[in-house]
C-alpha cells in the first residue's frame, strides 16, 4: 500500500519534472532569441539588444524615441520605421496601416515587429534629436479654475534645444489605479531662450490620466520625466503680418512664440485673437498686456461671446470668427498660425479663406 503510494508520487513527479525540463530547454532554445544587433540609418548608431522584444521597445531603451500614442497596442500607426533587414513577414495587425507605397519601402509598425535576428532600420533624422529629460517641478500656479501652469527645471540633461511652438511628452508614472506609465503631449509655453526650463499649461480634463495626476498629485519639488521636442509648428521667417488664433489649450505654443518674438524684438505686425464666453475663461491677461508693450507691433484681442454684467467688459464682443473678420486688415498678405483639433482648424481655414488669407500661408498645430 505504502509502496504504491510512493511509486505513484514518484511517477507523477518524474513526468512533471521531465516535462518541466523540456519546457526549460525549449524556453532556452526555441523561446530564446539571444542577442541581436540593431543598425540604425546605415551605421549612424549600432547597438545590441536582447532578442524577443518589440523593435519599439528596443529602440526606446537605447534612447531613440519613436512616437507612439497607443503604448504599443497597434492602434495609432505612429510608430512606423523602415526595416531594411530582419523584419520577417508582415503581421496581420500591421496591414491596416501600411499602404502599397509603404510596403515597397519596407515600412513596418515598430510596436508589432519582434526583434528575433539582426535588424537594420531607417528612421527620420528629426527623431535622432529627441531626448529624454529628468526634471524637477519648480513652480505650480493656477491660471484659471481648471488650468495649471507647471514650470519644470531640467536636471539631466540640463538644457533643451527647442523651437518656439514645439511640444514635449510628459511621462505619467504609475499612481492610484494606473499601473503602467502613460505618455501625454503638451505644448511648451516657455521661450526657447530659457533653455533650462520647460513651462507647460495643463488644463484639467475630467477623467484624464495625466491631468488628474498633475492637478491632484503633483507638488513642487517632485521629479518628472519628459521627452522631446516634437512638432513642426513654428514661426516662419518672413515679414508677413501674423494672425494667431487659439483659445484655451492652444495658448501655450503661441505664448512661447510671442516670448521669442519679444526677445528678438521681431518687428512684424501680429494680432492674437482669443475667444471665450465670459471673463472667467480668460487668463494670462497681465502677461499679454506686458507683451503688447514690449513687442514692437503686437496686439492681443480677447473677445467674449457672452460677457456677464459684472465683467464690465469693454473689449470686443462676439464670436471670434466675427471679430477676426472685423479687425484683420491686410488679410491677403498675412500668415496665420492656428492651434486646435483638425475639425476646428478646418473651420478656421474656411473663415480665413473667405477673408482672403492664402491657404499656403496658414500654419497649424493639429492636436
Amino acid at each position: 500500500m505504502f509502496t504504491t503510494l510512493l511509486i505513484s508520487i514518484a511517477i507523477i513527479n518524474l513526468i512533471s519534472v521531465f516535462l518541466a525540463l523540456i519546457m526549460v530547454i525549449a524556453d532556452a532554445t526555441i523561446g530564446n532569441y539571444g542577442v541581436c544587433s540593431i543598425t540604425v540609418n546605415a551605421g549612424a548608431r549600432e547597438f545590441e539588444v536582447l532578442g524577443g522584444q518589440t523593435l519599439l521597445r528596443a529602440l526606446n531603451q537605447e534612447g531613440i524615441f519613436i512616437p507612439s500614442a497607443c503604448g504599443g497596442r497597434g492602434s495609432c500607426g505612429l510608430c512606423k520605421v523602415k526595416v531594411l533587414e530582419g523584419g520577417g513577414e508582415y503581421l496581420p495587425t500591421e496591414l491596416p496601416f501600411i499602404d502599397d507605397e509603404e510596403r515597397k519601402q519596407l515600412v513596418r509598425l515598430s510596436c508589432q515587429v519582434k526583434v528575433k535576428t539582426n535588424v537594420a532600420v531607417e528612421i527620420p533624422e528629426e527623431l535622432f534629436s529627441v531626448k529624454e529629460f529628468t526634471t524637477t517641478v519648480e513652480k505650480i500656479r493656477d491660471l484659471t479654475h481648471d488650468i495649471k501652469e507647471v514650470t519644470l527645471r531640467l536636471e539631466d540633461p540640463n538644457e533643451i534645444s527647442i523651437k518656439a511652438g514645439q511640444y514635449i511628452q510628459f511621462v505619467v508614472p504609475e499612481y492610484g489605479d494606473i499601473d503602467e506609465e502613460v505618455y501625454r503631449a503638451y505644448s511648451v509655453a516657455s521661450p526657447p531662450g530659457d533653455a533650462s526650463h520647460v513651462e507647460l499649461e495643463i488644463r484639467l480634463v475630467p477623467g484624464g490620466i495625466c491631468t488628474s495626476y498633475v492637478h491632484e498629485h503633483l507638488k513642487e519639488g517632485d521629479e518628472v520625466t519628459i521627452n522631446g521636442p516634437y512638432g513642426d509648428f513654428f514661426l516662419r521667417e518672413t515679414d508677413a503680418p501674423i494672425i494667431f488664433i487659439a483659445g484655451g489649450s492652444g495658448m501655450a505654443p503661441i505664448k512661447s512664440i510671442l516670448l521669442d518674438m519679444q526677445k528678438q524684438q521681431n518687428p512684424r505686425k501680429a494680432m492674437y485673437f482669443f475667444g471665450a464666453r465670459s471673463k472667467r475663461d480668460l487668463f494670462l491677461l497681465d502677461e499679454m498686456k506686458a507683451l503688447e508693450e514690449s513687442i514692437p507691433n503686437f496686439t492681443f484681442v480677447p473677445a467674449l461671446s457672452e460677457p456677464l454684467a459684472e465683467d464690465n467688459w469693454g473689449g470686443e464682443v462676439g464670436l471670434i470668427t466675427e471679430v477676426v473678420g472685423r479687425m484683420v486688415e491686410e488679410a491677403s498678405s498675412s500668415e496665420a498660425y492656428l492651434c486646435g483639433s483638425p475639425g476646428m482648424i478646418d473651420a478656421c481655414i474656411e473663415v480665413l479663406g473667405k477673408l482672403g488669407v492664402a491657404e499656403d500661408r496658414i500654419f497649424y498645430d493639429k492636436f
Binding site: S8, I11, I12, I15, S16, L91, K114
Partner: protein, 197 residues
C-alpha cells in the same frame, strides 16, 4: 484485413458517426462562444485538430510505457492533462518563433485549447476502447476534424441566424443549444454505418 482497415474506419467514424462534440457532447463551452464568427471558428478548429492529433498518440505512449508497467492507470486523468498542457505550451513557443503571423491570429485560442474537455476526452476514450498507437493517431485526428466540422457548421448557421427572427428569450445560447441538438440528431443519421470500437 480488419486490423489494417481499423484505423481508417475509426477515422471516419470519429468524424461522422461518433462526433466527439455532437454525439459525446464534449468541448461545448468554446463551441458555444466561438461559433459566433466563421473565421475564428476555423482558426480554433484547426488548432484543436493539431493538438488532438498529437496528444492522443502521445498520451498512448505515456499510458502504455509508464502508467501500466507501474500499475498507475488511475493517475491517467492528472497525467494526461499535464502532458496536454506542456504540449500546448511547446506549440505556442514554436509558433511564436517560426510563424509569428499564425501565432498572432490564433491569439488567445492556443492556451484555451488546454482546457477544452474534448482533448482530454479523446485521450480517455483511447484508453477505454484500447486503441493501438496508429489507431490512436487516427482517432485523435478524426475527432479533431469532427469537432472542427461541428463548430464551422454552427458558425455558418449562426451567421445566417443574424438576419432571422429569433423568439425573445432564446436569443444567444438558447437558440444555439437548440440548433446543436438538431445537428446532433442529423448526425445520428450516420450511426450504424461504421463503429468506433
Amino acid at each position: 484485413m480488419a486490423n489494417f482497415m481499423l484505423p481508417f474506419s475509426i477515422f471516419f467514424a470519429s468524424i461522422f458517426t461518433s462526433n466527439i462534440l455532437l454525439t459525446n457532447y464534449l468541448g461545448m463551452c468554446s463551441f458555444l462562444s466561438v461559433s459566433k464568427e466563421l473565421k475564428t471558428s476555423l482558426g480554433l478548429g484547426a488548432a484543436v485538430v493539431f493538438v488532438m492529433a498529437t496528444t492522443t498518440p502521445l498520451n498512448w505512449a505515456v499510458y502504455q510505457w509508464l502508467l501500466i508497467p507501474f500499475g498507475l492507470e488511475y493517475l491517467r486523468f492528472i497525467v494526461f492533462i499535464i502532458v496536454i498542457a506542456a504540449f500546448v505550451q511547446l506549440t505556442e513557443m514554436a509558433l511564436e518563433r517560426y510563424s509569428e503571423g499564425l501565432y498572432q491570429s490564433l491569439g488567445i485560442f492556443l492556451p484555451l485549447i488546454t482546457v477544452n474537455c474534448a482533448i482530454l476526452g479523446a485521450s480517455l476514450f483511447m484508453v477505454i476502447r484500447e486503441y493501438s498507437l496508429i489507431t490512436s493517431f487516427f482517432f485523435g485526428f478524426g475527432s479533431g476534424l469532427g469537432w472542427m466540422l461541428a463548430i464551422v457548421a454552427m458558425a455558418g448557421i449562426r451567421t445566417k441566424l443574424k438576419t432571422a427572427k429569433v423568439p425573445p428569450g432564446l436569443e444567444g445560447p438558447g437558440i444555439t443549444l437548440v440548433i446543436a441538438g438538431f445537428m446532433a440528431m442529423a448526425f445520428m443519421g450516420f450511426s450504424g454505418m461504421i463503429a468506433v470500437s
